[in-house]
């Protein structure tokens, strides 16, 4: 039942769905129940194209949720994931379109900008002792404004960067195995999740991520430079938001500077539905992926059923509560 254990087990993409299976059985069950329910309700639901659409719809939120998971496990919270994603997309736009530099530089710039902003948030939290909620709220507002400033409140298009849309929409897997046209965006989500899971379970950084959330004072009293590691976690999360920025920019073939607000709530919701505790110390990337999938499946399924929008919202709220309740019941039964 140890979260660490479960975290540790997801040591790579291949192990992502084997490790910690028991731990997450019921959150996973909620997902399965939803999938079966929607399949029965609409013949259009369980089709390859729709499953791929659901995965595609999960990619951006999933990557953001992975970033949020890291910060939340330290006992913090990151409200800036959404606007940071946008900021990184704008940075990519500036580098690639305004400056006309080659694609790899744009990718490096986006991820680098994300990591840098994460580092700044981390510094606010670790060095200046600002509560994570405030530090990342401030960051969220600053980045929201800066995205508009830098872009001149206009979208930046990537028409001059050949191959940019391939980042998200192309399909490496599909080009090798034609029956499996999984878009690169989804592949990237799984790679990011696998890497994060590996870091959490197998590296020193991951160990301190859990330790910080579990009892920061005790880690500090053990002689660990907690500030440095905390900043590292925020920077890593920021870098992952940079990847999300590339994904969304590639998908929309543009950096939309006004986008991003509200994405943080969705990401955090995925994390919590996935069983990660907001008080820190425990959590799994696998759970977060399942949480993100539950949200996408819900949104997609209700739309396919053409449920009226206002009722979609009501049903989504109710099902989120139910899914987590089911998970709680299981944990109680398991003691």
């Amino acid at each position: 039942m140890s979260s660490i254990e479960a975290g540790r087990q997801g040591g790579g993409v291949a192990r992502l769905f084997t490790g910690g299976a028991q731990q997450k059985l019921l959150a996973f069950m909620s997902l399965i129940v939803l999938l079966i329910g929607f399949s029965l309700a609409s013949p259009n639901f369980m089709q390859t194209s729709n499953i791929i659409a659901i995965l595609q719809a999960t990619s951006v939120n999933g990557v953001l949720a992975v970033a949020a998971t890291l910060v939340i496990i330290t006992g913090g919270i990151d409200l800036s994931v959404g606007t940071l994603m946008t900021f990184c997309a704008v940075i990519a736009g500036v580098v690639l379109t305004y400056w006309g530099l080659p694609l790899p530089l744009g990718i490096i710039a986006a991820i680098g900008a994300g990591a840098l902003c994460g580092l700044v948030s981390g510094t606010f939290v670790a060095k200046m002792k600002i509560p994570p909620f405030i530090a990342t709220l401030g960051m969220m507002l600053m980045l929201k404004g800066l995205s508009l400033v830098i872009s001149g409140t206009r979208p930046i298009y990537f028409n001059d960067t050949p191959g940019f849309t391939e980042i998200s929409l192309g399909s490496l897997i599909g080009s090798v195995i034609p029956v499996l046209p999984i878009p690169n965006g989804v592949l990237i989500l799984f790679l990011v999740a696998g890497a994060a899971s590996y870091i959490l379970g197998r590296t020193v950084l991951g160990r301190y991520t859990f330790a910080l959330g579990s009892n920061e004072e005790s880690v500090r009293l053990s002689g660990v430079n907690t500030d440095r590691w905390k900043m590292a976690v925020y920077a890593l999360a920021g870098g992952i938001c940079g990847i999300a920025g590339l994904l969304i920019a590639s998908r929309l073939n543009s950096a939309q500077p006004a986008l991003g607000l509200g994405y943080e709530l969705e990401a955090i919701a995925a994390v919590v539905i996935g069983g990660t505790s907001l008080s820190g110390g425990r959590g799994t990337i696998l759970g977060t992926l399942i949480g993100a999938l539950i949200m996408s499946v819900l949104a997609n399924g209700l739309r396919i059923l053409s449920v009226a929008q206002e009722w979609q919202t009501v049903v989504t709220g109710a099902i989120i509560i139910l899914a987590v309740y089911a998970d709680m019941m299981r944990r109680q039964r398991m003691g």
């Binding site: 659409a53 998908r251 949104a299």
Partner: protein, 290 residues
Amino acid sequence: QDKMYIPLISKGFQHQFWQAVKAGADKAAADLGVEVTFEGPDNETMVDRQIDMLAAALAKKPAAIGFAALDSQAAVPLLKKADSEGISIIAFDSGVDSDIPKATASTDNIAAAGLAADKMAELIGGKGKVAVVAHDQTSRTGIDRRDGFVNRIKEKYPDIEIVTVQYGSGDHLQSTEITKSILQANPDLRGIFGTNEGSAVGVVNGVREAGAKGVVIIGYDSGKQQKDAIREGLMAGAITQNPVGIGYETVKAAVAAAKGETVPAQIDTGFYFYDKANIDSPEIAAVLYD
């Protein structure tokens, strides 16, 4: 002597449409030698935020105010206050249910969406299933464009079925996902109407990602991606308003009103349908923006 100061309180800020209005206002400000500021809430549900903005604008003792009301009733007390302080109000984008505004520079969204419906019917041969991806369920523009389209179809085209209306907040990504779901649920869909720039571009993205063929897309407003989509033939055409004109006319009327001149009560800035054929014509090109 300070320059005349005119704040514009709009319904939004970040969207391309509002930025075009702002551009028009800035141009008029330069032409007429006045100072303007332009603000609006993050989204069109934030009625009370807009009221706070209006209150702050009044505190600055402006010569006149341009105001695009999210809800005209909510603003009435402040509009009365402005009136009593001799500050002229010019309504823009959509009207205000009140006789306080000296002039209204707006687009008839209902009629414009009706035109979109006519074009849709024409392009799909007067029958089949269509869907609407709208940007907002409760705002004036959202309601008018949805109803303008839906009602026209119902009235004039009995063989066209509107299978669903869904709302994507004008968010490109959300609108993309919605479009893909709609196409999944309705493989025989003939057309989709996107009610603003974000919705329309989202529809284009969704159709492209889903690989759907033969779906007629009609958009609203302008922007580079919509124009590109029309040139490529992915989008059949779109309604455009004249946002630059709206901004320009609003400031112009405000200046005149502040000087005590009479201004026309209604300034119709017009709307147009544009497609591959006329997109580069001077008349249309003038009202489009990137």
